[in-house]
């Protein structure tokens, strides 16, 4: 190389002209300003986007049938996933992959007895508030929950849970889920055998279902539920949950409540991950569209900004591009992340609703934020 001495870097070139060594980056500590954006059906991986710069910081390996969860203390990124040894055949492998949040190195794989096979959805893999226990929903097609010791990185017991799905941790108790009989099932894990108790029925699972992508707020131990017609309820979780009364999101905006009748066109909630909650302020963001009943998967045309305390829609934000998934950062100046059919991520100020960034080709999947799950 003696005969090929490069010149000094001309001004403007960020990289210069000296021979270089390759190396691998590390990530800064997990930030509240990040969004973990899942690729869609065809696009593998979960892209970590910095909400301030709109830049991609890295990628967490997530295959099609996987669920990502963040350790509440930020010490690990967990991916519960299912793959086969020969892609479309061979040996089925269910496990939780444990990744270092700084190096994104694979630290461990915790084998599981099974998992639900479904496109990425919220609430199928949740973690206890202390970060010690993971709950992985299984469907074989009988319903059960894998209770995983995340400290020892070891599968624990399997709790059979007929007729229920979509999990939330319950601090000091175990976990809870929604059931087809319109109840909440709370599973207490203190004893040798799990003890399942059901709340009184409070919704009609076939007539006006609660979206299973509901929100659980660790800070207050509260779940926020929304039904197809637009009824909002909160439930204080515990050994026996206390379910609040239902109120209409449409009425909260000064419109008539949603209805199940055909030909009744109204603003209706719809999408996949169609709600996000800013915990500190109790601000709920909901994707809404115009349509009849049974349009629960239709992408949102507007974001409705709901103040849970006063039960008022504070603002309606029209969207340039319809969104299917929505999440919000949990810091004091929240950012909204949205994805949709287009496969791009829109990052928007959660207060001024100004669009900050549009990141192309991220995939149109669900989104996670630190403290937002």
């Amino acid at each position: 190389m003696a005969s090929a001495q490069p010149a000094a870097a001309p001004s403007g070139d960020p990289n210069g002209l000296q021979p270089e060594e390759a190396y691998t980056h590390k990530l800064p500590p997990l930030s509240q300003r990040w969004g973990f954006v899942r690729g869609g059906w065809e696009s593998g991986g979960t892209r970590i986007l910095d909400g301030d710069s709109g830049k991609m910081l890295g990628l967490v390996q997530t295959t099609r049938w996987s669920d990502l969860a963040l350790d509440p203390a930020g010490k690990a990124i967990y991916v519960a996933e299912t793959i086969w040894s020969k892609i479309n055949r061979g040996t089925r492998q269910d496990y939780i992959a444990v990744y270092d949040p700084v190096t994104l190195a694979l630290l461990s794989e915790i084998p599981l007895p099974g998992r639900l096979i479904i496109g990425a959805m919220k609430n199928n893999f949740v973690i206890s508030d202390d970060g010690k226990t993971g709950f992985v929903y299984n469907f074989s097609p009988a319903s059960s929950v894998n209770v995983v010791d995340l400290e020892k990185r070891k599968m624990g017991r399997v709790v059979e849970l007929p007729g229920c799905a979509s999990l939330m941790p319950v601090a000091g108790v175990g976990f809870a889920s929604l059931c087809s009989d319109g109840t909440i099932a709370t599973v207490a894990l203190a004893g040798k055998a799990p003890v399942i108790t059901h709340s009184q029925p409070f919704f009609k699972a076939a007539e006006d279902p609660i979206f299973d992508s509901y929100i659980y707020d660790r800070g207050t131990g509260t779940a926020v539920f929304l039904t197809y017609t637009g009824l909002i309820r909160t439930a204080k979780m515990g050994a026996a949950p206390t379910v609040g009364e239902a109120w209409s999101i449409q009425a909260a905006a000064g419109l008539r409540p949603g209805d199940t009748r055909p030909l009744d066109i109204n603003w209706m909630p719809g999408g996949r991950q169609l709600m996000a909650l800013h915990r500190k302020t109790g601000t709920l963001y909901v994707l809404m569209h115009r349509g009849e009943y049974w349009t629960q998967k239709e992408d949102g045309e507007e974001i409705w900004v709901v103040d849970l305390a006063s039960r008022k829609v504070k603002k309606r934000v029209p969207l340039k591009v319809r969104a299917s998934n929505l999440e919000v950062t949990q810091d004091d100046k929240p950012l909204l992340f949205m994805t949709g059919d287009e496969g791009a991520t829109i990052i928007m100020d959660g207060t001024s609703f100004e669009q900050k960034h549009k990141v192309e080709r991220t995939g149109g999947g669900i989104i996670a934020t630190v403290g937002g799950e």
Binding site: W84, P141, S143, A205, P262
Partner: protein
């Protein structure tokens, strides 16, 4: 909503399945009424209201009002009222049959769809064809009476490739089970 009569179907299915313990065991675990077509088991559907059906245009969903009976490669073909996925009719299969090299799942999610020609409601089993990379053609996502994960047999997001040699999703069929009432 799914106001169809399930009682007539249950007994025959239970007899048929007596010889199949593994399949019976998962169905038994769910501990509910069982729905079945003449030749394959479906997952239980919880008993819905027994209300008399109203088939007037005013009572039809948007999908039902616009459904057609001529072309099963279009999303608005009447049987597809709660399908989610690629139509097997566009993939080398048919409305009720799998493309070469794929395998129909023995279980499925179900829909209740109204035939616009006779105005009757029919129970449709959405059976996934499994074993190969996604077909990718004719993606549809219809949601009449489609509910959430805690009623999996009425939720159209789950991959129904149970009991097949491979769980890779290829496409979805809409198999006629029978009149809903």
């Amino acid at each position: 909503m799914s106001g169809f009569d399930l009682d007539g179907m249950g007994e025959r299915l239970l007899r048929r399945m007596a010889g199949n313990s593994s399949r019976r065991s998962f169905l038994t675990k769910l501990g509910a009424t069982i729905v079945a077509a003449p030749v394959f088991p479906l997952l239980p559907v919880s008993r819905a209201r027994a209300a008399k059906p109203d088939r007037s245009p005013e009572a039809k969903t948007e999908f039902a009002r616009n459904a057609q009976t001529k072309d099963d490669t279009k999303c608005n073909y009447w049987r597809y009222c709660a399908i989610d996925g690629s139509l097997c009719s566009c993939c080398g299969g048919g409305v009720a049959s799998c493309p070469a090299g794929t395998e129909p799942s023995p279980v499925s999610w179900v829909g209740t769809c109204i035939n616009p020609d006779d105005g009757n409601a029919y129970l449709i089993a959405y059976r996934d064809c499994c074993g190969k990379a996604g077909c990718g053609q004719c993606g549809c996502d219809n949601t009449d009476r489609e509910t959430q994960l805690y009623m999996p047999q009425l939720n159209n997001n789950v991959i129904w490739c149970f009991g097949t040699s491979s769980m890779e999703y290829h496409c979805s069929t809409a198999v006629m089970v029978g009149k809903a009432q």
